[in-house]
Amino acid sequence: MPRKKTGILILYAIFITVNLSLAQKNNSYPKDDDPLHVKVRMYEQLMLDNHWNEGTILFHALHHQDGKNIDGFGLHSDLIDATGEMLVAYSCKYAITKDKKDKKIADQVFDGILKAETVTGVPGLVARGFYKANEPQWFEKAWYDEWHWSSSMPGYRWLGDQSIDKLVSVFHSLGMYYELAADEAYKKKVEGLLSRFIGKIVNDNFRIMDLDGKLTLWGNMCPDLPHNKLNSLVALAAVKAAQQFTGESRFASAYKMLIEKYHYDDRQLLTNHLFPEHMRHIWDDYHAVRSLYTVMQYETDPDLLNKYRMTLNRQWYVWKDITFEEESTIFYIMLYDLMTGENAMEDPARIDVLKSMNGHKRGTRTFNLPMEDGSRMKITTEYDRASTAFIRNYWFGRYFGFVDPNW
């Protein structure tokens, strides 16, 4: 082969490689056998580089078909979950390191959650996510038809249909941030957001309402409507957290009313399904345990504490035997230990799982999107799934002594 032709081929190969490897700002993943602290450091950087969306964290960062790096290009339905995990992670990290850079990131993440409120133009956190765009992007069609142009921040799109699990992510993560990282100015901001978000829910009779006045598909804690018993527990935890951090008496009244008039304390006893087994929902138990952790921290009435403990015991019936590998499972056991002091995490098999925790590798996904003319548009793209739960588990585990810094 002539030398010139070979050279061109090599250049072409380099060009292709560069294009592929520059699919996102950061393409450096740790090796599977790297120590835990190395994996965490690299995944933190991946989150900051590839998932960062004005302080919030994209749950799925999609790769733009033109190879562009566009902030907010991804799936937003679970953005608040990933963002809350990042907030807990950096709150715990700052509590350990006392490094101002870590506090700054925690503050920026909190500011991102605040922006998710501001973008809707109304008080209360009714947005699941947001991004800046000149025109709606195709990924909007991958989920429910709840995208809107912002009236308060021109050029922004935001996603409605807020849900109960995001409420849990908010009060849990803001509580951790408040106690571990926020300074006085940010504590005031946290109090304000909880007051507006949970205050709006109370005013709307324990419903998360969209701006069109309709109850969201997953926002029902209303005593006048049939609702999941898990949601009774979430309602109690939400108003308890709001009462704790804002000191507003209306939340104490709401908590009392839910218990004395509507017996939510009894309803929450059956938060999880035990039988038939196929109706057990591990993901829902994850919301329940974060709610229990919140409400049991601030409740002082021994009878109510007993009832919450009964709910936890009922959940443990399932969780004591569960495969201990999922991110949410690891976090569940850590919270369980903190609430009960039973040291379930000291099981050698569980410690091995802690040591081998890891983030998510890059993947490929195909979307089959409905068009208004009845056809469907197929888009296949690479995506990065947020590893914030892994990072959260690591720093939460470090802070509470579950994870050894030398691992």
């Binding site: 038809d145 069109d212 006045g213 109850l215 926002g219």
Partner: protein, 241 residues
């Protein structure tokens, strides 16, 4: 004495209305009608529609009326719809409910077998009968009556207590298309930009949504073609000739 007369008169009037109401809607008074296989009979007459405790678009609670009709006991299954649309694919079992069908496809399928989509009134009456109940089986919720599943969010049937006319899975399973545009109820004062002829009404909730969506009066709006991620199927009506 005057009060006694007035009260008695009121009692008599209410009783008469109730008797007319009940006789007009009691399936047993119309027992000569035999529905086609897989369908049930809903007699003509008034029923209580809407609610004052649900979203504002379901109010006010009011009296509406339908003619007599037959309606499917169950939602249309994957296998049934696939026999009409050869391009239809589904990850669940053939017997599970079809859950990815747009409004035009549902309408075309219905027409092909001599049926049609129910109006909102017909759907709601089939679900709640004439006593204004909140859920197809009564005014209480029971966890065992609806599969609330994250593992299979589309189209699971549980076939637990039937509606007053014998329909199953009108709470949960998949959302169901109706024939109607999303319009404001008579007397409703809550203005919504979605009202008009852009969205069709879906009813019944799906297994993964909150329980308020399972109520017999809850309304939701979806574009007839651009259905996004909503799991929507159908239950069909046949006119009585």
């Amino acid at each position: 004495m005057k009060n006694w007369k007035r009260d008695f008169g009121l009692f008599l009037s209410v009783s008469l209305v109730a008797m007319v109401f009940i006789s007009a809607n009691d399936p047993s008074t119309d027992n000569k009608v035999s529905p086609p296989e897989g369908m049930v009979y809903v007699p003509a007459g008034p029923f209580i529609m809407g609610s004052d405790i649900d979203d504002p678009d379901s109010s006010p609670q009011h009296i509406a009326e339908t003619g007599a009709y037959f309606i499917d006991k169950y939602e249309v299954s994957n296998a049934e719809y696939a026999s009409f649309d050869s391009e239809y694919t589904y990850p669940e079992g053939a017997g599970e409910r079809a859950a990815k069908v747009n409004w035009h496809q549902a309408t075309a399928y219905a027409k092909s077998i001599g049926k049609r989509l129910p109006t909102e009134k017909e759907w709601e009456k089939a679900a709640r009968g004439t006593d204004g109940r909140m859920l197809p089986w009564g005014d209480f919720y029971d966890d065992s009556f609806v599969i609330y599943s994250r593992n299979n969010t589309r189209g699971q049937s549980i076939a637990k207590p039937a509606s007053p006319y014998g329909c199953f899975d009108m709470a949960g399973s998949v959302w169901e298309w109706t024939a109607d545009w999303y319009q404001q109820y008579p007397g409703n004062t809550h203005d919504m930009e979605q009202y008009g002829e852009k969205y069709k009404v879906i009813r019944g909730g799906s297994t993964f949504n909150n329980f308020a969506c399972y109520t017999t009066f809850h309304r939701y709006y979806v574009h007839p073609v651009d259905t996004r991620a909503y799991p929507i199927g159908m239950r069909l009506v046949k006119d009585i000739e």
